[in-house]
Symmetry: C2
Subunit: 207 residues, 2 copies
């Protein structure tokens, strides 16, 4: 974990790595706007307005509107990958590590839903170069989960017919939480995380 980005409570401040302050405010505004209306339906005037600045101010900190999405996507994927790596390389057998990975990954997609929506659903709005960079990160995400599933199969903890497709299904299930999760709904991110960990363990035949 980082140092300068932490609050007094020890929690990592989201977007703490983005400086200066004005650049961060613009980026946070962009995340909200992109999550609400989608990249293409969001205007640079809307982003600047949410950040309390004039439309031209955006271009002091970012070259284009696409660069904003790129930065958001990059930081978000790094965070997602970090969450999965921490779980995958933790203590315990494949069963514990898979449950940990799923519950923390789902908690992030539910708790930081606006960010996750942009990160997971606006990839196609990026140009070819930026998209290729992000796709490489997604391959690493896939590999991390597939590694745990493979471990579980090798150790006899899991009973899985098709490792590749089952891994895809597990990730798909977790990611789609960002599409339907409602912050005002009856369930907390923690509850969904725990429930999903249980469902995934059933999917791999570990319960």
């Amino acid at each position: 974990m980082s140092t300068a980005e932490e609050t007094a409570a020890g929690e990592v401040e989201p977007w703490g790595e983005v400086t200066p302050d004005a650049a961060r405010r613009l980026l946070v505004a962009a995340v909200e706007a992109f999550a609400e209306r989608g990249y293409h339906a969001t205007t640079t005037r809307d982003i600047a307005g949410r950040a309390g600045m004039s439309p031209a101010a955006l271009y002091i900190h970012y070259k284009t509107k696409e660069e904003l999405l790129h930065r958001i996507s990059r930081i978000g994927h790094d965070k997602a990958l970090d969450i999965l790596r921490t779980a995958a390389r933790g203590e315990g057998g494949a069963k514990e590590r898979l449950a940990d990975a799923v519950s923390s990954f789902v908690r992030w997609h539910a708790g930081r839903r606006t960010t996750a929506r942009v990160v997971q659903y606006e990839l196609d709005a990026l140009g070819p170069e930026a998209r290729a960079e992000i796709l490489e990160l997604r391959r690493q995400v896939d590999a991390e989960v597939r590694g745990i599933v493979k471990d579980g199969v090798a150790s006899g903890e899991f009973d899985v017919l098709d490792v590749h497709a089952t891994t895809l299904a597990i990730l798909s299930l977790c990611i789609d939480v960002a599409r339907w999760f409602n912050v005002d709904g009856p369930r907390t991110p923690e509850e969904i995380g725990a429930l999903y960990a249980d469902l995934v363990l059933r999917m791999v035949g570990a319960e």
Copy 2:
């Protein structure tokens, strides 16, 4: 040119209910464009061009670009609901009906991926009235699957902690197929359907 809704093989021609021919060609072109780039990134000139017509021709058959999306979404949701109803009201116990529902629902999302993408991921581009109409159809979709899950719990075939959330997870898993399924990939829609039916039966504790 044939305008019958059914082919010689007895299969229902997609969009066969849309007439006249020019209106259908425009709608099919819109489905392709919306699926590829998203609603907001698609121009009416692009849609008309794909259909081999001038931009103005679109407005002879549809009042606005949004009406195109509305018609696509309505027909698609009707089809999805029809698929689930057929499975839910079929023969057999809850286990057979759930497996049937999941495999056919997934087959549709994979096999007709372009349509499914538009139907499932472009809802927010609709105006309030159209969105409300479609959301009512989604509630019926939810209810149909939840009904099967409830039946299975009541009969003792399933072992489920949270019927509501598990139903959401099942639908979420199926729907997200439209996001990642690749027509040129190694697996057919039938294979994914069968695999997913197995995964879902495990999720509800029926295997």
